[in-house]
Symmetry: C2
Subunit: 459 residues, 2 copies
Amino acid sequence: MSDALVAALTDLAALLGPRLSTAPAVLAQHAQSESLIRAGAPQAVAFPETTAEVSRIAQICHRHRLPMTGWGAGTSLEGHALPLRGGVTIDFSRMDALLSVDVDDMRARLQPGLTREALNTQLRATGLFFPVDPGANASLGGMAMTRASGTTAVRYGTMRDNVLALEVVLADGQIIRTGSAAPKSSAGYDLTALMVGSEGTLGLVTELTLRLHGQPEAVSAAACAFPDLASAVECVIATIQTGIPMARIEFLDEATVAACNAHSGLALPLAPLLLVEFHGSPRGVKEDAARFGSIAAEFGSQGFDWASQQEDRTRLWKMRHAAYPAILATRPGAKAIVTDVCVPISRLAEAVTETRADIDDSPLPGPILGHVGDGNFHAILLVDPNDPSEVAVAKRLANRMAERALRLGGTISGEHGIGIGKLALMPQEHGQAWAVMAAIKRALDPHNLLNPGKLVPGR
Amino acid sequence: MSDALVAALTDLAALLGPRLSTAPAVLAQHAQSESLIRAGAPQAVAFPETTAEVSRIAQICHRHRLPMTGWGAGTSLEGHALPLRGGVTIDFSRMDALLSVDVDDMRARLQPGLTREALNTQLRATGLFFPVDPGANASLGGMAMTRASGTTAVRYGTMRDNVLALEVVLADGQIIRTGSAAPKSSAGYDLTALMVGSEGTLGLVTELTLRLHGQPEAVSAAACAFPDLASAVECVIATIQTGIPMARIEFLDEATVAACNAHSGLALPLAPLLLVEFHGSPRGVKEDAARFGSIAAEFGSQGFDWASQQEDRTRLWKMRHAAYPAILATRPGAKAIVTDVCVPISRLAEAVTETRADIDDSPLPGPILGHVGDGNFHAILLVDPNDPSEVAVAKRLANRMAERALRLGGTISGEHGIGIGKLALMPQEHGQAWAVMAAIKRALDPHNLLNPGKLVPGR
């Protein structure tokens, strides 16, 4: 351990007492994630309880030039929160308070460690909810940093649209506030939007103000099966273009449906499936569903399996959210490489069919599913983690998916972010604009202390 | 004229021929705007026709360290496009092509000099439209740079929400692309959002990709009068909180209504007025209007003046858009200082009533109107431009409005931007975050050549 590191850890221990840990188990826990990706471990983990403490931690790290990596709930899929160069991981799990709910302005102020499920539980009595739903019970700070979205983005937008304001601790410990409580502003650079999706490389978020939405008066949901993959995806395209206000429109290919049936004890028809949900007035929901139904019929849908009761809907979405473990369970001992691309709606059928064919030509199982209403889909490639050749095949498939998305005018990541897994693809997507990102990073974090090695060209 | 300037102008003339002008009339035309604000004039005005030319212009200016200021339609209200330090004004009026319309993905790619009215005229046959409507027939590049919004933002969002991708020429002439054609992305810093609202201080926008929306199946609109200002504003708050999907909800105080009646030959009741519009299915529009009607009745509304026919609606919104000249006409020879603040919806009544009282206590006429559905309103303060004491009174009123907005958790600018007029208020709104904006500006434009002196702390 270098002298600088010892000095820094001494200062941090003086500040945090037992809330600074160097226990091997704690370090190891912060060196792994959902994904197969592994990097180094942090040298210490800090558990701050206040913004002032985060600021003091950053001051100490800044003085001793020690890397800082934020940690939310550890659910990221690209290794965002795994430190590449050691240093201190700042675990926000003790900063999980819902600070205030402003029902009149439909807003909540909260700490970054609060998870989305905990937020919605606490909001239940207000008639409001926070819609962004990436599946995992992620922390809201982590969701902001990844620019997460999920099943409801087609209706309610992503974190880009639902983060109104932030409190951020900068690399040197300075505390800034971005945004305001007004619904809009044209007063200067949109620092809130710059921070959202910055993966902890520009600052440590210590408070978020989120937009809330009214719980819909009526909700109805349905599963509907299609004769083939192309018909299901073409139906999505037609639906979105008709402007029916879908609250969710999720695609599951046949392999995903089979896995879900086995895992959740369901008996969905073994065919490409769309799960749809409508939010609105009782009459509006009926109208929307009828319009969707006639489009689905045109594409050969075998009819609806309606879920108008709350319990049926809960079962349906629980099944959808359990798709990931369900797919993992189809190959015992396997790990998943989860891909994530997003293309223009008009190119979705092309993107999904080509991807399906590419995976079918490989030796790996790789069910496809996605938030197709905004052109976003995933393949879950199952590999034996101890077989380097399988891992290599999966990585090649994933890279071809990303390159295909770029060729079709899309992006290498719809919602999972870049982390460690996709860094090498950044220049292909952004060209010269990647250097602009690097210039911004240098301007805000000249000593490269905030999650160094991520998101921008290596330094 | 310095040697460097002569050399730069020689290079620019060689590039552009007669499309570089130093004619006094052309320089003078680019030294004035809608507002009372005046600064210096440019030393030359360039009229590029291609991105490559804009890039070459920037290279020349960069080499000779000559300031560059973009110019759209000259409709900005805070002097954004008036050069503070001379140099070259880059007038985008010849770059006004609609490059492509992608009906399937509901997107248009266009050059920055195209105006919003010209875009919508060209879109008419497609069934799509671009909703952002600041009133003036501004250029879309200018609207992006100001982060403009207007009457329909409550339903369709602002330029922040409707600019999907940009092509930008940087200070040194490099050309970058931000965003993609996918509906969403989590691949790196959101440079599109950073550029939108940057008022030409980070780059020159040479191409925009905008989100289009389906023309609504049915539209209905109405004017409805209220017994007093507070009732009208309280009605807005209740309406927004109920979640009725208003397409527009505009407030006009009694003085504004009087001016509009006189100017547009109407006979609207002399009372605080809300103009509302609903977009949707024929049945949905009826339901929404009925729900709004019962809320309005609770706040003492004198009933609706319905405009279900296209011609009646056109007259109504023409009147609203003519409110500015109508108000100007009430005091011949006067000029207007137009203010622009935005507050949380819950504080709107407080903000509008206090502002009304403050103006009533002053010697100046100052009708109030605004896009109250998102907490945004304006006072149009009429002054004798040759009477410095009146101008000083108006500026004090405007500053108090901005400070009141900040006290209520709002912003100093909802949609007009900062320009020259509001620069002094920036530290009050942003505190330490203003220095972060300055750091970003230095990183992207180290020689301070792009619209220097604007938006960030002076250098």
